[in-house]
Every structure is written in C-alpha cells, then in structure tokens.
C-alpha cells in the first residue's frame, strides 16, 4: 500500500465516519430537542 493509497482511503474513512457521527448525533439531538421543547413550553408558555 502506497502513501497515496493510505491518504486516499483514510480520507474516505474520515468522511464516512464524520457523516455517520453527524447522522447519529442529529438523531440524538432531535430527540433531546423534542424533550427540551416540551420542558421550555412548560416553563415559558410558548
């Protein structure tokens, strides 16, 4: 495996990994946001 191969494939792995993290964190964030929205509605009334 050459330096170019290592660079190229590690780049692809990094991109895929970052997209997976974004997707997972988006799911977690949306859930937490929903819970918080309810909490804030109860607190502020809107």
């Amino acid at each position: 495996m050459t330096f170019g191969d290592i660079l190229f494939f590690s780049g692809i792995i990094l991109m895929v990994l970052s997209m997976v993290i974004v997707l997972v964190s988006m799911g977690i964030y949306n859930h937490r946001k929903k819970v918080l929205k309810q909490k804030l509605y109860e607190k502020y009334g809107f």
Binding site: G4, L7, F8, I13, M15, S18, I21, V22, L40, Y44
Partner: protein, 640 residues
C-alpha cells in the same frame, strides 16, 4: 354623580358605581343599543379641552386590539367629558398583588407578551399614543386569563408628552418624575419629553412589582436588582425587566417590539437550550473538521495515487535497458504516457519526468537516425526542462547530424552557458567537426572527450561515434580497433552497445568486402560480439539474425540453420526468419550437384515467409524482393 337606573345620552343606563379612578367615579352601565355592559368613566379635567377635538376622539375610537378595551364613545355632560369603554369581566393586577398571589413565570411571560403587543399597537398609531400610566391597577386580567391595558383617558398622542400628564409615582419613569418635579417647582417642564420608552419603563416596574411583591418606590434611592431579591424566575426574565427599567432611556428597549422580540428569544437564551445547541454545534464542528480533513486527504491522496501510478509507469519505461530491437515500441509507450489525460496534471507538476520521456523519444529517433523527429523532440524536452545540459548536448548533436551546423553551434553555446562539462563540449564539437567533414578535428575532439570524462555513457558514446568517423573514412580496421579498446574501458552497462557497434562494424565490412583477406577475422570477431550479447541477456532478434548471417558468411550453414531454427521457435510470426531460411536453403542447394538439388524446402520456407509478409506503409523489404526474384528464376529454370 349618577344615580342607579339613570339614562345618559339616551343610550347608557347606569347600573352601578364600581370604583373610584384618579379622575372620579367609575360606573358600570348598560349600552341600550348594543345590549352589552360598558364602563363610563370621567376624563380628567386637564384633558377635557383636548378630547373635544374630533380628530383625537376618532383616533381613540378607531383603536381595535385584542388586549385593549374598545372605546365606544365620548359623552359630554355639562362641563364634564366621559369616556365609554368596554366592560372587562375580571380583576386588575393590583388585586392579585395585594393578595400576594405567586404567579408562574409562564403566566407572567404571557401577560408581558400581550401588554407588549398592546403597547406596540398604541405606539404604532399616527400620532403614537403614549399610555403614560401603566400600573397594576390599569391592567385587567380577564376571566380567560388574558391581560388588558385600560385607562386611556390620559393616553393621547405624543404631543401629550409635552404636558404634565397623569402618572403614578411608583411606576412612572425617571423622566416623568423629573418633569413633574419641574412642573411643581415652576421650572421649564415642557422641555422634558416623554416618549414610548416611558411606557416601557412603567411596564417593567409593574412586572417588577408582580415578581417581587415590592414596588419600585419602596426603594426611593434605587430599586434593588431582581437577582438580589432572590426571585424564583429565570435570569432571562430578570434581564428583560432590568433592561426595561434602566434610568437612561437610551439604555432601555427602544420600542415595545424590541422588548417583545427579547421575550420571544427567552427560550433560545435558556441555559438548557444553549447547552444543547452548544453540544450540537460542537459535534457538528468536529464532524465538519473531520469531513474537511477527510476530503482534503482524499483529494491529496487521489493526486498522490495518480502521481505514483505515473511514476511507476515512468520508471518501467526509464529502467528498461534494451529497446534496440524496436525503438517504436518505446516511442509508443512514452507517447501513450505523455498523452494520457489522467496524467495531465501530474505532467504539469513533474516537468523533469516529462522532459525525461520526451528526451527518451528523441533518443529513440536519434538511434533510428531520424534526426528530424529527434530534433523536434529535443526541442520539446528543452521546453519542459532546461536544467539538464545533456538535453542541450544531444539536441546540438542531432542538429549536427541533420546538417544544421549553425543551430548546433548555437545550442552548444547555450549548453556552455548552463555549465555543461568540458568532456560533453568536446563530444558536441567532435560531432560538429564530423558534420563539417573535418574528420581529423572530430577524432581529436572525441579523444579529448574520452580522456576527460568519467561518465561511462559519454565515453561509450564517444567511442562509438569515433568508430563511425573511421568507418566513414573507410578505415574499418581502425574503427574495430577503437571499439575493441572501448570494450576494455566501459562498464558492463555500456558494454552491450559497444559490442553491438563492433559486431555491426565487422558485419558491414564483411558485406562490403566479402573476399578480403581479413574477412574471416572480422567474422570471428563479430560472432564473438553477438555471442557475448546473446549470452549477456541481450538475445534480441537482430543479434540472432546478425549472428546467423555471419555464420552464413563463414560458410557454416549448419550452425546458421540451427540459429534460424531457434529463431523460428522464438519468433514464429516473423517472415524474416523464413525469408532467411529460404535464402540459406537456396545457397545450400547451390553447393550441391545439380542432380542432388531439391528446392522444395526453399519453396516451403518462401511460402511461409510470403504468408507472414505484410509490408507496412507500402515499404517493401529489399531482401524479400530479392528472394521473390530468385524463386521466379527457379521456376523459370524448371527447378520448381
């Protein structure tokens, strides 16, 4: 003062006296036409003159807002003016404050939003209507739980700000208090202007009272901060109230809309919300960073991979030692690599490698003695990279070989400017002298180049060129002597080219003078050269063929045929092997007695050669034409 059941203005039936306002008694009445309850309230005396103005009365009547009571009418009875407004079923805010009711934050926020909307509506009128007396008792809480801003009898246009208007000590803004002070002390109170920000202050002071249960005036010097009063409300709400109650007008909200905006942003300023947003942004930031790094790695990696693939192909071409059999193969490989669109960017970056490939093509044309193309590719080489003086050297030599001596000299001058070595200069000068026909000078320069140089390539080249000079002069003996000397001087890498040249020199001499006395010596010498080449990993077609021809010249037909049969195995598709076999067979038969001659084998080889013979570009092989003629003769003479 009205009695219960009294009809006013033939429209309003007084039902009850429900309270005392700053201006007088407040009555609950029944609107006989609308069939609904209304409030009749006396307007303060100092406004009487103004409400009589039709325009301002119309403005107040035209106000329609969910959180403002509808003003229906103004009634003048004698010298008094009364305003008729919507009856709101509920209690005012002071009622709850007095009862020390604790409200939830969401409830207070709801009222603040409603009051801000009402104020925004009033302030957006033309001219803007300043309430100027916002206080808990002027905020009604309806049975549905909504806030309603009442008491408009002092809320005329902004011009009223020039007058001393009704206000409540505990909720009035500092500028209102100051104006009042000036009024009572006989000062120029008209210079003090009251605007929408006074209402903002009063609203803040009202909510302050609601939150803390303490009115601002309880602290005559300065109201205590909400945080110090340890309320259970959010910091965002405290911040809004604190900002609304700033002493300096420019430090407060500049409009009710701005305050309303801040109220709506309370949610986004909540600590939990901000924490969630921060963690999301942090993760997104990290992921974006990773993605960018990944994308950069991919792009750079893709570039590296292309470059590595190019270098691999480049090395494969450069490191291939022996192409003497077919330079066209090497030229095609180089051109394919140079024209490959995949490597356009790589070639643009690696100019040295590009120049090397062009140089290699030029060298191939040079070796094939196609000096026109060689010159063209040397020019391209120099256009790509001028750092290597050898490019200039070979360019100059190619020009000299082509007969363009002036250009050769000009290129040599450029090469000298680039600090080309002295040995290389002598080599070029030798070539130029050779091109001019000055053989003596050429030989001298070659000798100088050989004696000065440590470069094996240059030495071998000088020897070869020197031998060619002697050969041109017809001095094959000297040429062979020079090349024999070279075999002892050059390294193993350059030895094959010397041996090849020596073999060719001997072969040409033999072909030129087949009956000379020293022919057999040259044949032996040439056979030795080709044997060394074939044994030394240079078993090429031309080396085999030349050796077979040499054995034929030596009348050793058996060995000659043996080599050709070996070639038949190695190059079964090459017509030249069968052509040579046919010619050999013809010679062998010619040595036999006529009665023993049999040309069937010759015919068979000839037919094999014809089957494989495919003259390209209309270029026919002279040897093949000779064979055809001889076969024709055999037919004519009846041998076949």
């Amino acid at each position: 003062m009205f009695r219960r059941g009294e009809i006013l203005n033939e429209t309003y039936e007084v039902l009850d006296e429900i309270g005392q306002g700053g201006s007088g008694i407040i009555y609950l009445a029944f609107h006989l036409r609308l069939q609904k309850k209304v409030i009749i309230k006396k307007i303060k005396d100092n406004y009487v003159g103004r409400v009589n103005e039709r325009r301002e009365a119309d403005i107040l009547k035209s106000l329609h807002h969910m959180y403002l009571p509808q003003v229906y009418d103004f009634v003048q009875l004698g010298s008094q003016v009364y305003t008729v407004i919507d009856y709101i079923d509920g209690n005012d805010l002071s009622y709850y404050i007095n009862k020390k009711v604790h409200f939830e934050e969401r409830q207070i926020i709801l009222w603040m939003r409603q009051l801000c909307e009402a104020l925004e509506y009033l302030h957006s009128q033309s001219p803007p209507i300043i309430h100027s007396d916002i206080k808990p008792s002027n905020i009604m809480i309806t049975s549905k739980g909504n806030a309603c801003l009442i008491d408009f009898n002092i809320s005329f246009g902004q011009e009223s700000g020039k007058r001393i208007s009704g206000y409540s000590q505990r909720y009035a803004s500092p500028e209102q208090l100051y104006k009042s002070k000036l009024y009572f002390s006989g000062g120029n109170y008209l210079a003090v202007h009251v605007d929408v920000r006074s209402d903002i202050y009063s609203l803040g002071a009202t909510v302050y009272h609601l939150l803390t249960g303490i009115s601002v005036s309880s602290y005559p010097e300065e109201p205590l901060g909400l945080a110090e009063l340890s309320t259970s409300y959010s910091p965002q709400l405290i911040h809004i109230i604190a900002k609304a109650m700033q002493d300096k007008r420019e430090d407060r909200y500049q409009s009710a809309a701005e305050m309303l905006g801040d109220i709506f942003h309370m949610k986004t300023r909540d600590a939990d919300y901000r924490k969630l947003k921060f963690s999301r942004n942090l993760i997104y930031g990290i992921c974006t960073f990773l993605f960018v790094i990944g994308a950069a790695c991919t792009v750079v990696g893709a570039g590296e991979r292309t470059e590595e693939a190019f270098i691999e192909k480049y090395d494969a071409i450069i490191e291939t030692k022996d192409y003497e059999d077919d330079y066209n193969v090497l030229i095609d490989k180089c051109i394919d690599l140079l024209n490959d669109k995949k490597y356009t960017a790589v070639l643009g970056k690696n100019l040295k490698e590009k120049a090397d490939l062009l140089y290699l093509i030029a060298n191939c044309y040079f070796e094939e003695e196609d000096y026109k193309n060689a010159v063209s590719f040397y020019e391209k080489t120099i256009a790509s990279d001028q750092s290597n003086p050898e490019y200039f050297r070979d360019y100059a030599i190619a020009c000299a070989r082509r007969g363009d001596v002036d250009t050769a000299e000009s290129i040599l001058a450029q090469a000298i400017e680039r600090n080309m070595g002295e040995d290389h200069i002598y080599l070029v000068q030798a070539e130029i002298a050779f091109a001019r026909g000055n053989m003596e000078e050429a030989v001298q320069n070659f000798d100088q180049a050989i004696s000065l140089s440590n470069d094996s390539y240059l030495i071998s080249r000088a020897y070869i060129l020197c031998a060619r000079v002697y050969r041109e002069q017809g001095n094959v003996e000297k040429a062979a002597e020079v090349l024999t000397e070279a075999t002892n001087v050059v390294d193993d890498l350059r030895l094959p080219s010397i041996l090849r040249e020596l073999g060719l020199t001997c072969l040409k001499d033999i072909q030129g003078y087949p009956d000379a006395d020293d022919t057999i010596d040259y044949i032996k010498k040439a056979i030795k050269c080709y044997k060394l080449l074939i044994e030394g990993d240079h078993a090429t077609f031309s080396n085999y063929m030349n050796m077979a021809i040499l054995y034929q010249y030596a009348n050793d037909y058996e060995t000659c045929k043996e080599i050709l049969m070996q070639m038949e195995q190695l190059y079964p598709d090459d017509y030249r092997v069968y052509m040579r076999l046919a010619l050999l067979e013809m010679v062998i038969q010619s040595t036999l007695l006529e009665s023993n001659r049999d040309y069937q084998q010759t015919k068979s080889y000839y037919e094999q050669a014809v089957k494989r013979y495919n003259p390209t570009n209309g270029m026919s092989d002279e040897s093949m034409q000779l064979l055809e003629t001889k076969i024709q003769e055999l037919y004519e003479k009846g041998w076949l």
